[in-house]
Amino acid sequence: MGLHAKVSVAAIEDVYRSRYRSFLRLGYALLGDADEARDAVQETFATALNTASSYRGEGSIDAWLWQMMLNVCRQEKRRRKRFSSQPPPDRSTNGHSQEWRELRALVAALPEQERHATYLRYYADLSQDEIAGVLGVRPGTVGAALNHARNKLRAALTREVTL
């Protein structure tokens, strides 16, 4: 399985076990469905085991795995578009709050870089530098993206709380 590279199975397993729920939350944020999020996490780590030799040690193992998770979710979204006859996930059945409708819509409408930076900051609890490593941009760019996102979301939040 090509596991003789710079990343060990034990290291991948360690990230899986310690950050499992954070990966699930990111998957849910990106896909909007708990089962698809679970599937995406399993797929991410199975892919990691099979492509460990592609890890060049240029960033942290965590960043490499978060990148892989983003790619798996992107692929799943593309697959959904191809099979568009399938109904979208019913978010009302996933047991979480149905409030914050405007906020939810605004998050979904953020440009991809801002949205991913927000998800990685608040659902994966990554630092600005770590997010930069995942997204392959400079930390300053992440800072700007997070600021833009916060300003838009704060405005929506104010409106919802005021209503």
Binding site: L24, T47, H96, W100, R150, R154
Partner: protein
């Protein structure tokens, strides 16, 4: 960032506080990916003339049982494509053994299955067509089974479904089961399993409170429920008099 915004963002996403990681599942999935074996989850559906023939054989009985599980094909030898599915479980077992040796990680390897003796056990009628459960004996007194939607039977000329195995018989109160969801059948949760004691039915409590009862055939049970009802959280096996003979629950 205001605390309120952080809380609101947090509220958009479930906490998954009760979720447990499944590393063994990752390992199995990686061996499937590496070998080109079919994934546990169905991704595509392809209907063929051969499938249409199979449905003609089975649908008549399903209608006769008014949508209830039936055992029309109990004991019928499995077709080659299903035997291949069981043989692939043996391949997977070999790969897991190799993986264990290479990495020193003990895995809960599958027992070796006698694919030549694979046979039909039971079928359930669902909104996505018939759901079939095939079984075959395994080493050490265990059993392996394979669950598939009949309509998925020929997907790129290989079986598409999910398999599981039990090892040597355990305590009679044991219930071995798995529930599964796939993108190809996204409105359904599939439940399958095996008991180590005789029973007539299994009562299934689903996460959002609904209760369903499904029959037992040769100690196997099989059912499909609306995904919106939530995953199974408690299973209770009952004998003919309604006495509890085994039970299992998850948090």
């Amino acid at each position: 960032m205001t605390d309120l915004l952080e809380l609101a963002l947090d509220d958009l996403i479930p906490s998954f506080a009760d979720e447990q990681p499944d590393w063994a599942g990752v390992i199995v999935r990686s061996t499937q990916s590496a070998s080109g074996l079919p994934r546990l989850r169905a991704r595509h559906t392809r209907r063929t003339l051969a499938l249409a023939f199979l449905l003609l054989l089975l649908v008549g009985s399903a209608v006769a049982f008014a949508g209830r599980v039936h055992d029309l094909f109990f004991g019928k030898p499995a077709p080659p494509i299903i035997k291949r599915a069981f043989m692939q479980q043996n391949q997977m077992r070999s790969q897991m053994r190799q993986w264990e040796k290479a990495h020193g990680h003990p895995l809960n390897s599958l027992p070796r299955v006698n694919a030549g003796r694979a046979h039909g056990v039971m079928a359930a009628k669902t909104q996505d067509g018939l759901l079939l459960l095939w079984a075959a004996p395994a080493t050490g007194g265990g059993e392996c089974w394979f669950v598939e939607f009949a309509a998925d039977q020929l997907d790129h000329n290989r079986p598409t479904g999910s398999g599981s195995c039990s090892r040597a018989p355990a305590a009679p109160s044991t219930v071995r089961w798995a529930s599964e969801w796939s993108a190809a059948h996204r409105t359904l949760t599939v439940l399958s399993g095996r008991l180590d004691t005789d029973a007539d039915a299994v009562r299934v409590r689903l996460r959002h409170g609904a209760v369903r009862t499904i029959p037992v055939v040769d100690r196997y049970f099989l059912g499909a429920f609306a995904h919106t009802l939530g995953a199974p959280v408690r299973l209770t096996a009952l004998d003919a008099k309604g006495h509890v003979v085994a039970r299992s629950s998850v948090r």
